[in-house]
């Protein structure tokens, strides 16, 4: 039955705002700015929005707060919080709601002033009680434990991890909107300040401001709107645990489940994907997800990313805006996987970073400490 969702909805507008630094702005102001941009692209207004999907790390009632701020009275709202993967999950919730006729225009949105609002960072209430006493520096220590295990088991090296950070920077250098565009070498990553072994500060995502928004409608309506529609082809969410210590195997994330299910819905495989957006909160994420999603075999991601394998001109274009490592990371990056995939599939990315002839994009969101994994696959009209 799930196959009927394939191609049933489309992204008709995306927007971003305040990428990097936006001093003086609240997270809701940034969210509203991105939402206005996305709706303007779609030729729609806030009054057309009757489905609202949002999540933040600062609002206990995200859909209520955001709905009131935007003046929306949605018929359906979803505030599922899977951490940074939430917005990829919201794509599926929106697709279900649109297909069921519960709403006609779904707005998926996010905003954060995590950088400029420094000091107002809320501590998440949900601190796992059986991990907390050991003072892991979360989330980085969780990913450090996964990286250490991957290195032990497969011979992955810190240099492999550094390749991911340098590739992200090279994509960011081609992306005017990206917040970190300075030079970065493998040796500089290796020599950077260690945070939680084996991860240095350069293996960690940025702490930035930023907002993103995505507008979705049913496919038949998408064809009448101004922008080239980007169709939802398949998606799946998986969760195996909340705490990193509860992972039975630190080298396998539940992306190994979400990926195959998403590909099955899309009737596609990894070999069909032209451009890939992976949630790179830390460099190890990219290695794990390349393996778990089937772009290479388990344990072989180090070789896959070596010699600029995922950098511009490499064997697979990954995180073509610079990702969470160099584009922006305001706390929950997932929305930016979708905005970038859309821009690539429309052919709107700046010339040097536009993946030529891109027809199919994969977005993979990760949340908390390798806790939630959500995969969504999008394509142009030719792929539906």
């Amino acid at each position: 039955m799930a196959a009927s969702l394939r191609g049933s909805t489309a992204i008709v507008g995306v927007g971003t705002a305040g990428i990097g630094q936006a001093p003086g702005r609240t997270h809701l102001e940034l969210l509203a700015q991105a939402s206005a941009s996305a709706l303007a692209e779609a030729g729609l207004t806030l009054k057309d929005v009757d489905g609202l999907f949002t999540s933040t790390l600062v609002n206990f009632f995200p859909t209520l707060t955001v709905g009131e701020y935007l003046g929306i009275r949605p018929k359906v709202a979803g505030g599922t919080n899977l951490g940074g993967a939430s917005f990829v999950d919201h794509v599926m919730s929106a697709t279900l709601a649109l297909n069921a006729g519960l709403c006609d225009v779904a707005l998926i949105c996010y905003g954060s002033n995590a950088r400029s609002g420094a000091g107002k960072h809320t501590t998440m209430a949900d601190q796992p009680p059986y991990e907390l006493p050991y003072q892991p520096r979360m989330p980085v220590s969780a990913y450090a434990l996964a990286a250490a295990r991957h290195m032990h088991q497969f011979g992955t090296t810190r240099r492999h991890l550094a390749e991911v950070a340098v590739a992200a920077r090279k994509w960011a250098q081609l992306t005017p909107e990206a917040s970190e565009r300075g030079p970065l070498t493998i040796d500089e990553v290796l020599a950077a300040r260690m945070i939680s072994d084996p991860l240095t500060i350069r293996d960690c995502c940025l702490v930035s401001d930023g907002a993103g928004a995505v507008v979705m409608v049913r496919a038949e309506r998408a064809r009448d709107l101004p922008k080239k529609p980007i169709y939802f082809l398949g998606g799946a969410a998986a969760q195996w645990q909340r705490q990193v210590s509860a992972m039975p195997d630190l080298t396998v994330s539940s992306a190994a489940e979400s990926g195959p299910r998403a590909f099955a819905m899309a009737k596609l495989g990894p070999q069909d994907v032209d451009v890939v957006q992976l949630y790179d909160a830390f460099t190890i994420n990219v290695l794990l997800f390349l393996e778990d999603l089937g772009f290479c075999k388990k344990g072989e991601s180090g070789a896959f990313v070596s010699d600029g394998g995922i950098a511009p001109g490499g064997r697979l274009p990954v995180n073509t805006n610079g990702g969470g490592l160099s584009y922006c990371h305001p706390g929950m990056y997932g929305i930016f996987l979708i905005t970038e995939a859309t821009r690539q599939l429309r052919g709107e990315a700046e010339k040097e970073r536009q993946v030529a002839g891109a027809e199919i994009a994969l977005c993979h969101g990760n949340g908390a400490t390798l806790s939630s994994e959500v995969t969504a696959i999008f394509g142009t009209a030719a792929t539906v």
Partner: protein, 125 residues
């Protein structure tokens, strides 16, 4: 199922106060469970019993959390594979964190900390 008196979480902590590291075992399917829960995560039944943990474990993964010396210096965080099967977060103490290696055999101890008794591990001699 009674819903009064000490639940699994409080019971675990009471045992720790007594200096005992106890884990749960499912009387129906035999699965060992950590952290303490109400229902077996393998078969879903509520017939979980307590037994003393063997205390034997292996370092499954390890990291050194870097911290300024004036704030107490670097420290270890590890995931320990208990001999009974479950993994738990802990720390390996009494050796430099950099010397803690994956695969190292370790033994549980209960250390008194500011937050109360805590299960930690030491390298098994």
């Amino acid at each position: 199922m009674a819903s009064e008196g000490a639940g699994p979480d409080a019971t675990f902590r009471e045992y720790l106060q007594q200096g005992r590291f106890m884990i749960q075992k499912c009387a129906k399917c035999g699965a060992f469970i950590f952290y303490p829960r109400l229902l077996c995560t393998e078969c879903g039944t509520s017939d979980l019993t307590w037994q003393a943990a063997s205390g034997s474990g292996t370092v499954y993964s390890t990291t050194t959390v870097r911290r300024r010396a004036e704030q107490g210096g670097d420290y270890n965080v590890a995931v320990i594979a208990l001999q009974e099967g479950p993994h738990m977060m802990s720390k390996v103490v009494d050796i430099p964190s950099a010397d803690v290696a994956i695969g190292m055999l370790v033994r549980a101890a209960i250390d008194q900390t500011e937050g109360g008794p805590l299960v930690v591990f030491r390298k098994d001699a």
